[in-house]
């Protein structure tokens, strides 16, 4: 299991290659990569602030929760901070499991928790100003499907 918080870019393909290498019992690997997207507002960059110390702890806790809920062979979480241009990778999760259901579900769970429970804050920087991205109620609602009985 690895959790990385970094300002440097990463190569999602190379990460997948390294994560997949040498696995003999994992029949399924799922990855998700988040990319900085311009929603038609003329976005210049996304600035991502985080809480050093708590961030690593929160991501590690979320990854541990995923491992305790599903039978996973491995988990990778990468999340960047700093100023990221449009088209740049923001974050990535990868899960390895014997079968795809666990790998897909665990990746989905990791994403839902990363969105609302990891201490990152996004600010959109445009030519005409900048704004903090507001949390969406639907992101908070998405967590309930993992907690309801």
């Amino acid at each position: 299991m690895a959790v990385r918080v970094q300002s440097a870019p990463f190569d999602a393909g190379a990460e997948l290659g390294a994560f997949s290498a040498g696995r003999s019992s994992s029949g399924a690997i799922v990855t998700f990569t988040g990319i900085v997207r311009d929603r038609g507002t003329g976005l210049a960059a996304l600035e991502i602030e985080h809480y050093p110390g708590m961030t690593e702890k929160a991501l590690g806790d979320i990854a541990e929760q995923a491992r305790s809920r599903w039978s996973l062979d491995d988990v990778l979480v990468i999340h960047r901070h700093g100023s990221l241009p449009v088209g740049a990778p923001i974050m990535m999760v990868a899960t390895a499991a014997a079968h795809r259901a666990a790998a897909f579900e665990a990746a989905d769970f990791l994403m839902d928790y990363l969105k609302s429970r990891a201490p990152f804050w996004k600010k959109e920087v445009r030519a005409d100003g900048s704004d903090w991205v507001a949390a969406k109620a639907q992101d908070e609602d998405a967590l309930s499907r993992w907690t309801s009985p």
Partner: protein, 82 residues
């Protein structure tokens, strides 16, 4: 002494990322009231605490959490990771 940290727009409104605070406050909520009484910029940042989240010693917590033995408190808006 408690280290108090601010992130995102809370940091911008208060005008600094962290400070050390001498306080006798019993809970996070009491600390917030103390800070609000200091200056307008704190009052402005903490006007609507329902819009804020708090971490106590780097764990998500709530405004009723006790401060005894706590080293670090952080205030921030709802997180937008992913």
């Amino acid at each position: 002494m408690i280290d108090v940290l601010y992130f995102a727009w809370v940091r911008e409104r208060i005008g600094l990322p962290r400070e050390r605070v001498e306080t006798e406050a019993a809970t996070v909520r009491d600390l917030v009231e103390e800070l609000r009484g200091r200056e307008d910029r704190y009052d402005l940042a903490f006007t609507d605490i329902a819009a804020l989240r708090v971490a106590v010693d780097q764990e998500l917590s709530d405004f009723d959490a006790p401060l005894a033995g706590v080293r670090e408190i952080a205030f921030f808006p709802p997180m937008t990771g992913g």
